[in-house]
Every structure is written in C-alpha cells, then in structure tokens.
C-alpha cells in the first residue's frame, strides 16, 4: 500500500469539494484501504464483512460531513477521527451498555490494511430495489443509470433539490440495508 501524502490528499479533496467527480472517486478509492486499516485495527474481533460495513459508513460520513473540514487544517487527522468514531460507535452498538474506549486522536499512524478478499458481491441494482419507493427510483436513476439530478427531477416530477436530498438519503439507507442484504447479522 502506497503511503498517503497529506499534500496530495488535500489537493485531491479540494478538487473534489470543487465538484470534480473523477478526482473525488480517486480520492475515496485511495482512502478506502487506509480506512479499512483503521477500522480493522480498532475492531480486531470483527470479521471482514462487518469491517467493510463500517468502512462504507465511514465513507458516507466523510461525504456528509465534508463541510466540517477546514481547508487550512490537516485532512488526514480529520479522516482518521471519523474512522475511529464510527468504529467505536459500532463497537458500542455491539456490546450495548459497555462504555467502550474513548477516542484518542494522539496516535495517528497509518495502519496496514488487511486483505479485502471478502467484499460482498452484491449486485448494486438488486440492493437499490430494497430501498423505500421514491428513494429507490432516485438512486436507481442517478446511481445506476447515471443520469443527472436535473434529468431525474424532470422524469420523477420532483424538484432538483428534492432529488438531491432523496439521493443522499438513499445512499445512507443503502449502507444500513447492506447487512440484511448480505445475510450478515
């Protein structure tokens, strides 16, 4: 795994925040093994499929909280903090009533990711069908067919903003649905 350079990641994320989807995809893909490493390291007792669930949640959290990154602050600690928070949250959810360890930001090392040989092979279109009615059509149109939010708004007779909101909510729901879809507890 190539070591991630702060400057390079920052440059990519800034371009992504300016709307460059190609760079954004690249950025998320290069962050994925790093996040997987952190989650695996925080939750050694979790199997690879559960780790992957949390990785996906972290990716979505990065996306929905991207406005909280201040462009003059380092980016990697911001990402690591989110990955730790989601990991510890998952641990708390697992052992309910157990307080769990507190977040500690001091040890910011990059951790070698475990091999990800168990990415669930779930067809995305099948997964989308499980969403609530309107969310399913929006996510299918934008996510699977790849049409723009504007086109989707005309087709589905919704405002463009409503389409964006529905798409975002649909993505979140997809992640929370994945457990049942893949037969994981």
């Amino acid at each position: 795994m190539a070591t991630l350079k702060e400057e390079q990641v920052v440059a990519e994320f800034k371009k992504a925040l300016a709307g460059d989807m190609v760079v954004y995809r690249q950025f998320l893909q290069s962050m994925t093994p790093v996040i997987r490493g952190i989650v695996h390291n925080k939750l050694p007792s979790f199997d690879a499929a559960s780790v992957e669930d949390i990785v996906q949640e972290v990716l979505l959290a990065i996306h929905s909280k991207r406005h909280t990154w201040q462009q003059d602050k380092p980016l990697l600690p911001w990402i690591y903090a989110i990955a730790r928070y989601k990991s510890i949250d998952a641990l708390r959810a697992q052992n309910k009533g157990d307080a769990g360890p507190d977040l500690d930001i001091d040890e910011i090392d990059e951790i070698e990711a475990p091999p990800s040989d168990t990415e669930q092979q779930m067809d995305i279109a099948t997964a989308v069908k499980q969403l609530d009615g309107k969310l399913a059509s929006v996510v299918h149109a934008i996510g699977v067919e790849g049409i723009s939010a504007k086109e989707a708004s005309t087709r589905l007779a919704m405002s463009e903003n409503a389409v964006r909101v529905a798409f975002h909510r649909g993505l979140k729901q997809l992640v929370s649905l994945r457990a049942s879809l893949t037969g994981e507890p």
Binding site: W78, Y85, L103
Partner: protein, 211 residues
C-alpha cells in the same frame, strides 16, 4: 454491496453541493440579545444598576458566569470538527469555580454562623432558580442545533460544554435584573443553575449530537 459500487454512487451525489454552515457566533449573539430583552422587559433592569455596577462583588456576578461561558463556547465551537478531542476543556471551569469557592468562604467567614442560612437563601431564590435555566434553554437549543451540523466525536462532552455556555450566558444576563449581591447567594445559586444546564446539555447532547 461492494465498496467500489458505493463510491461510484457517492460521487454522483454532487460533491460540490456543501451543506450550509450555520454561524455559531451570530446565533449566540441573537439568542443572548433576545434573552436580555426578555429580562429587561419582563423583570426590568435593577433600579440601582448604575450605582452598584462599580462594586467588584457586583461585577463578579457578570464576570464569573462569563468565565464559564467564554471557554465553553470556544470549545463547543471547536467540537464541530471531528478531530477535536476537547481534552482539558472542563479544566477551564476550575478558574471560576475556585474564585467562587474563595468568595463564598470569605463571605461566610465574616458572618456569624446563625446568619449563614438566611444569607445563602436570599430573597429571590426561586425566581433565580427558575430564571437561569429558563433563559438558558433557548440558548442551549440554538447551540445544539448549530453544533448538530458539525461532526463532534465527543457528543456528551460537547453537549455539556454547550449547556455550561448557555447557563453562563443566561446567568450573566439574569444578573441585569437580580438585586442579590452577596457571593453567598449568587455563588451558590448561579453555580447551581449553570451546572444544571451543563448536565442537561450532556444528557441531550449525547443523543442529539450523535451522527
């Protein structure tokens, strides 16, 4: 679902469409001005305000709560970034706490023991006990609403700081009306109101600020 599929879908959710940042300072100012207006309209400014405001023990009634509110607000605002650990934030409260305890002890030490209870109780205990949380609640709600848009990784502590900030601000606003100038009164009851708001903030924050 494969993670790469999720990423492919995520990038369709326009990465440039950032949520609006809610300005914390602006909202706090609006809410504090609003609660000051309520205090001045409903209770009214204490009649002797101009005469007593020169006294250090009266000034302390405003300054001590602000010594809680200012660092709490600063940390609450920082808490919106996930990498903020809020380490040492509560230690700042030790400064006003030590001053309050010192003032309380020195006030009571100068009074005969049979006057202590009456001095602590004052004449407006219930108005004070009700007013501070009442004035603080909208401020706390506003703070949590602004902070919810952030991404704190310490929901309970961030909530507690928001509560302390709201309590400190409302106590110093309430002091515009309150005529009790003995540290034995405000040192006990203002502190109680502020701590109560801190606990409320912690309880609410641990739910509301989770994401």
């Amino acid at each position: 679902m494969k993670t790469t599929d999720l990423i492919d879908m995520m990038v369709q959710d326009d990465p440039a469409e950032l949520p609006q940042q809610r300005p914390l300072a602006l909202w706090v100012t609006v809410l504090v001005v609003l609660s000051a207006a309520i205090v001045l309209l409903v209770g009214g400014l204490r009649a002797d305000f101009a005469n007593v405001i020169v006294q250090p023990l009266v000034q302390a009634k405003y300054l001590l709560p602000l010594m809680v509110a200012v660092p709490s607000l600063w940390f609450a605002s920082q808490a919106r970034q996930p990498e903020t650990t809020l380490k040492g934030s509560l230690l700042w409260m030790a400064i006003p706490a030590v001053i309050v305890i010192a003032l309380l002890i020195s006030t009571l030490a100068n009074l005969p023991a049979d006057k202590w209870a009456a001095t602590v109780q004052g004449q407006s205990l219930f108005v004070c006990l009700a007013s501070i949380p009442l004035l603080a609640s909208p401020i706390l709600a506003g703070l949590l609403w602004v902070m919810k848009q952030g991404a704190t990784t310490r929901p309970a502590l961030a909530g507690a700081l928001a509560g302390l900030a709201s309590g400190g601000l409302s106590a110093s606003v309430y002091a515009l009306h309150c005529f009790e100038d003995s540290p034995a009164f405000y040192g006990v009851w203002y502190s109680a109101g502020i701590v109560l708001m801190g606990i409320a903030g912690q309880l609410i924050g641990s739910r509301v600020l989770k994401w």
